[in-house]
């Protein structure tokens, strides 16, 4: 663990299949590539030396995890500055994201991108415990079934359906925008994996009672009753009264 956190000899590659340490030469090439991309795509907002600007925060110490989350989910670079920067189709491919992450974390250390072995939620997580933790820590924003929810002033917690395990983990350790950070002290890595396992279970859960109606609770149920339910019944009533005239 310590070895992973200290940047230096071992360097886990974001999302790559292997976690084999890379050579110093390869690493500095990666960082150079990252710097090149950063200067072109990010520095206009975040400054040439990550120092930030009037419109964007400094990136010193945000770590590779934050960069990987922000760029690989398409949030960065920002296309339009609205109330909340939204997830979208990523601009950069895996390799470029990796380079950016390497560059940003080379200037100041921060949380690392979790590697494959760290993300083995099937092995290390417990679904039921994850559900319990999710309901305690996340459901107030993301809804009971992780379908997302509205926050105040037009902000929202997005749905977590289809979000990669790695990004869920990174979201917890970096706390993007209005989401709080869930440090390893408040929620241990294994507990994080449990939550991921539960989220994946919800995602894969078949629609047990029939059409799930968005899994948002009674609002859509009420809508269905007043449209389809009552619509059918009143329709039949009209038809019955017309019949046998």
């Amino acid at each position: 663990m310590l070895a992973l956190l200290s940047i230096g000899t071992t360097f886990s590659i974001a999302g790559a299949a292997t976690e084999a340490p890379i050579t110093a030469a390869e690493r500095s090439a990666l960082i150079d590539e990252g710097q090149r991309i950063f200067l072109k795509g990010c520095s206009s907002c975040h400054g040439i030396n990550l120092e930030g600007s009037a419109i964007a925060p400094a990136l010193l110490g945000v770590g590779a995890a934050s960069v990987d989350f922000q760029v690989a989910t398409g949030r960065m670079p920002v296309a339009d500055m609205s109330v909340q920067i939204a997830r979208k189709q990523p601009v950069y491919d895996e390799k470029q994201v990796e380079a950016l992450a390497a560059y940003v974390s080379s200037l100041a250390p921060g949380p690392q991108v979790p590697g494959e072995s760290q993300l083995n939620y099937e092995r290390d997580g417990s679904t039921a415990e994850g559900g319990e933790l999710f309901r305690t820590n996340c459901a107030m924003c993301h809804n009971f079934a992780a379908q997302g929810g509205a926050l105040s002033q037009g902000k929202y917690a997005p749905t977590l359906m289809g979000v990669e395990a790695r990004h869920i983990y990174e979201a917890m350790i970096t706390g993007p925008q209005s989401m709080p950070v869930f440090s390893d002290k408040t929620i241990t890595p294994n507990e994080k994996l449990s939550m991921i396992k539960w989220i994946k279970a919800v995602e894969a859960e078949p629609q047990l009672g029939g059409a799930a109606l968005g899994r948002v609770g009674p609002v859509t149920e009420g809508l269905l009753v007043w449209t389809l339910g009552l619509g059918l019944l009143v329709g039949v009533a009209v038809w019955l009264a017309m019949k046998a005239r």
Binding site: R135, F144, L213, E221, W226, L230, L240
Partner: protein, 528 residues
Amino acid sequence: MTASERIAGTVANYVDERTGAAKWMKKNLNKVFPDHWSFLLGEIALYSFIILLLSGTFLTFWFDPSQREVIYEGAYEPLEGLKMSAAYASTLHISFEIRGGLLMRQIHHWAALIFMAAIVVHLMRVYFTGAFRKPREFNWIIGIGLLTLGIVEGFLGYSLPDDLLSGTGIRIAEAIIQALPVVGSYLAFFAFGGAFPGEAFIPRIYTVHVLLLPGAFLALITIHLMLVWYQKHTQYPGPGRTEKNVVGYPLFPVYMAKAGGFFFIVFGVTAFLGAVASINPIWLYGPYTPGQISAGSQPDWYMGWLDGLVRMSPPLESHVFGHTISWNILIPGLIVPGILFTGMALYPFIESWMTGDKREHHLLDRPRNAPNRTALGVMSLTFMLIALINGGNDIIAITFDLTINQIMWFSRIGIFVLPPLAFVITKRLCLSLQRADRDLVLHGRETGRLVMMPHGEFVEVHEPISPQKAWLLTQHEQNPPLALEESDLRGVRRPGVLKNKLRARLSKAHAVAIPKVTADDLKEIEHH
């Protein structure tokens, strides 16, 4: 006579000689029930109530109304090994281990939503047609009672499984009880048998939900239907229909056959919804734990307006003698609903006071011919709808890319501005419709056929409407407003003058109408 007919005859005779049933049946089965689709709305409510009784009874076989803590060891893996109440665990058991259990749960819940929706549309039909007028005021009040009990019954049923969403609802209900000045906290303590959530609440509301309230429903519905029976059904105006007769089909066999068929259709629609659409998936909500809450926690729709009112009220509190009065809960949670439901229950009396009309009415009004009443109804519905929309503000915000704050402010302002606006618009609309009726009677129907006159002008051919139609459009009464004297002959103001003034003004507003076509008008036209 065949053998079986002979046996049937003997049995019938045997029963009749001992009960006198034949005479009773002859009298009552020959009753006539008028035919109109809107007269079937109450029936939808009735049949869904029967479905609720049947499916609910099924659920009681396995439901365990207890807040005793258990460890879940059932079939639904994502909850495996968690602590939860026996009530929640048994609901999971019904859903996943009892054959047909989930279907039955879903039928029961869909039936509850349909029941409430049917009561509301039934009430709308009774209101907008003026069916609540003398002699049916009591039945109207019973109806309001059923509506109120329905809301309570639904809320309690929704709370029974002790899941995260309903637990949140109970928490809010507790806050509303606590908001009562002085007695609030004692009352809450009493209801929950101690501090929230305690262990007593679910067993208590279970008794109320499956025993007390269904009993009350059965009693009230019986009285309700007996009154309909005894007072006979109202009917829409039409040729040959008067205040003294009922035109329709004999109850037996035509009406009975239709009603019987309709029951199966209501059952079919409910079962269809139960089979294809998930409702209240409590396994996803998780067991109730006081520390947890989900985004978008909503009650069922019939409570949604109440939630919406509570959500829209700004934080307002005052401190009196060491007691905190939470106006932000008290006003939307108790005072406003109290006023609304009392007003609704008393409306038949209020209207007859305004119009001074104390006569019996068995012919229904066409809504346009009672513009004030219709406008008041639309106004109340608008109020409820805005409250309901705000109840789902978070879901609406995220679905339509709006902000909760926008919807909140829309409702805060809208709840004061839109209902009066709806009143004015509806009233004008009714009057325009009356005007259109008048034109129709006077000038006939536009046929869309143009004819060129000898001098080159085009005119549209108008066809006179049928006498039946003309009768329908002119049969209604138009009564002048009450003439109330404000002072006696010597100019001395009478006591209660303000009340009279108010009454006179209301009466005037109620009597606004486009003069209907009279026989004299028609004669005059024929002269031209």
